[in-house]
Amino acid sequence: MLSIKDLAVSFRTRRGEVDAVRGVSFELAKGETLGVVGESGSGKSVTSYALMRILDAGGWIKAGEATYSGVDLRRASEREMRDIRGREISMIFQNPRAALNPIRKVGAQIEDVLRRHGKATSANARAKAIEALEAVRINDAAARAEAYPFELSGGMCQRIVVAIALACDPRLLIMDEPTTGLDITTQKAVMDLTRELIRERGMSAILITHDLGLASEYCDRLAVMKDGKIVETGPAASVFGAPQDVYTRRLVDATPRRGVSIRSLLPAEARTAPPPRPALGGPLLEVLRLEKAYPGKSGPVRAVKGVTFTIREGQSVGLVGESGCGKSTTSSMLVRLLDVTSGSILFRGEDIAAIPAKDFIRHPLRRDIQMVFQDATDSLNPRHAARDSIADPLRRLAGLSGARLKAKVEEAAELVGLPIHLLDRFPHQLSGGQKARVGIARAVALDPKFLILDEPTAALDVSIQAVVLNLLADLRAKLGMTYLFVSHDLNVVRLLCDHVIVMKGGEIIEQGPAEEVMDRPAHPYTKSLLDAAPQPPAPAPRLRAAV
């Protein structure tokens, strides 16, 4: 149905021509779902954009053939392409909110697509749009059609994007990271629904993702891409279960999943003995009936509804929950960026919740409680070189300057494995993993006792995530820090934490030792979180040992 042969795509940039895709070939049969897996910069998205001929300015197909049911996609006129897009091949983009027009009702947006491709007249467009919404299992479709995108949740928006993509009964659906940014239970709901619709209509699909686990669960066949080339293709189970290529095996290893240790995420040659788990001391942080309420239209909105927990010295605690559960609000209060409404936070017996966030900046404990932020790009000042970013807290809180400051900054960089010569670069000149290291170096340079890690690997590729998680485990052993690891990904929490707290709707619904919560969850919500994580087939140990 779709056949690509030696496709090559290049971009003209300031530094000359850059080859994004270099000779990709694959075939897609009718009714088949192909997963294109790769890390950022592997050319997986560019390949699909080239098929749809929607490459950014400066990009062009340099060589190769792409044929879709007899149509030459490379040479088809723009007019022919317009007919193909949407009617024959549809695409779902990464961010559902960005893909929908914020100032138009969602029903009207579906009608537009239908009318554009002559699948409806103005008389029956409305009815067909509602039908399309019903097809993606949206309850009360007639009322939802009148909603604006901002009135709907992220998962609902993605369903509407799916409805738009499927409205004209395309025969091929391309999904580009369709669930990035969605909660794990929403991801499962959207993916299950999409799979069902694809099967019902006998469509073919291409799923582009960085998540090998997700791809192997929802695809028949996988193609693993690296540096613009396909390094391995084959049935999903065998690619994941018995990877032939070195790179694929590294990706498989780096994917966090049940029953592996933190060191086994790394490539075999980099595995060292696991860091010793520090002995647990007395309670470092006692949180008592902590509450945060914001004023709302109809009375105060309680974001955190009286949570109580204890973190012991040397412990690594995971705080898990989906977006809006209050985990970020809780961590902002603990790190004293946000004032509490009521309750207390005892840090070695001293109630730090009583100190206003404004004054805590000059408090001697400021050094001891630090945080690594979620998005490494966002958390580094674009105008400061890496050196300045790391030096600023040292200068302000440790009173260092001159040669001693320089030495301390370089020591911190070395600790997190950041080459010294990168210290003079600005954030935009660093890769994602390097930026994450700068963020971690900034926090650990002060030798804090307590470090809050707010999804520090959420924006990273899996292989870099594996390295950063190991770095964090090593630092904890080396510096004797206590961690609070905030995350939505249970598989990652399992690797790094001894103790897990699960939050939902501002309350703690379950907490206990990591193994216990993960293997024998007591609360049905914890169970649903665990079930929603894509469960890739476990790699067969016999085959891995043989290679």
């Binding site: 960026l337 400021r366 932020f373 966002d378 807290p393 990168l422």
Partner: protein
């Protein structure tokens, strides 16, 4: 790239300026033109072939010639010398006015954008009120009320430009108020004022530079406009606005050079400032370094 990264910071900044100038010929042209204007402003009075104020009734209203490049005016003063000498005054007025509005606008806008709430509401309404007036009329009113001096032209020009800076800074600060790096700065022991001044505000500089260069042009036009209608700089001081105003009467009778040459100087200067905007932005934006 690695050579740049390893070079000392000061050299890195200079290399970046050179890179920006090389990369874009328009920027290079505008900066060279600015250098010429700056040269004229500094050395103009020393280089002028005639005294700009000396009248000579015998050689009044002469067309451009080898001895008087831009001709002479109705009092026999050399137009070239006057236009050259006027550069310093016009540049001084516009730079001082823009500097003043940049500083005031940045402080007000940053405070409004960072703290929000009643600070924002109060400041924004005051700025809206200023913008509700026709700006030139407001400037006329201020100069008329305060008195006809060069300082008052500067103040009037600064006041009418403050809202543009304040609004721009407010928007730029507002979107970065909750950014990760601002929170990280506070964790690193920076109070609100330090976080705002040293971490958030510098990120607003690139769009501010575009505003500054456009504003320099406006400020010159504004000062010239005020002089043109008789407010501001008084004759016989050499100033482009007055020269155009005085020369305008003679265009009908065929003595075009009186108004055209100072008008051209004005136009070229405004044009230069407008062209410089993108270049200045690229210089202060570290993301343009690769």
């Amino acid at each position: 790239m690695s050579a740049l990264a390893e070079a000392p910071r000061a050299r890195g900044a200079w290399a970046h300026v050179v890179y920006v100038l090389r990369d874009n010929p328009v920027t290079l042209l505008s900066f060279s033109m600015f250098a010429v204007i700056l040269f004229a402003a500094i050395f103009g009075p020393a280089l002028a072939p005639y005294d700009p104020l000396a009248t000579d009734a015998a050689s009044a209203l002469q067309p451009p010639s080898a001895s008087h490049w831009f001709g002479t005016d109705n009092l026999g003063r050399d137009v070239f010398s006057r236009a050259l000498v006027a550069t310093r005054l016009d540049l001084l007025i516009s730079v001082a006015a823009v500097l003043l509005s940049f500083v005031i606008g940045s402080v007000l806008g940053a405070a409004a954008g960072y703290w929000g709430g009643w600070v924002d509401a109060g400041l924004s309404r005051v700025l809206d009120t200023i913008m509700a007036f026709p700006l030139f009329v407001l400037a006329m009113g201020i100069v008329a009320a305060l008195g006809n001096t060069v300082e008052n032209i500067v103040y009037a020009t600064a006041i009418i430009n403050v809202p543009f800076y304040a609004r721009l800074v407010r928007a730029e600060v507002n979107i970065r108020r909750e950014a990760g790096f601002a929170l990280a700065a506070r964790l690193g022991g920076n109070g609100h004022v330090r976080t705002l001044a040293f971490h958030i505000f510098p990120n607003a500089l690139p769009p501010m530079m575009v505003q500054v260069s456009l504003n320099l042009g406006w400020a010159i036009l504004n000062a010239a406009g005020l002089s043109f209608i008789g407010l501001g700089v008084r004759p016989p001081t050499a100033e482009w606005g007055i020269m155009v105003a005085e020369g305008a009467n003679f265009i009908v009778s065929g003595e075009w050079w009186l108004a055209i040459f100072p008008g051209l100087c004005l136009m070229i200067t405004v044009f230069t400032f407008n062209l410089m905007g993108d270049g200045l932005r690229d210089i202060v934006d570290p993301r343009r370094r690769t």
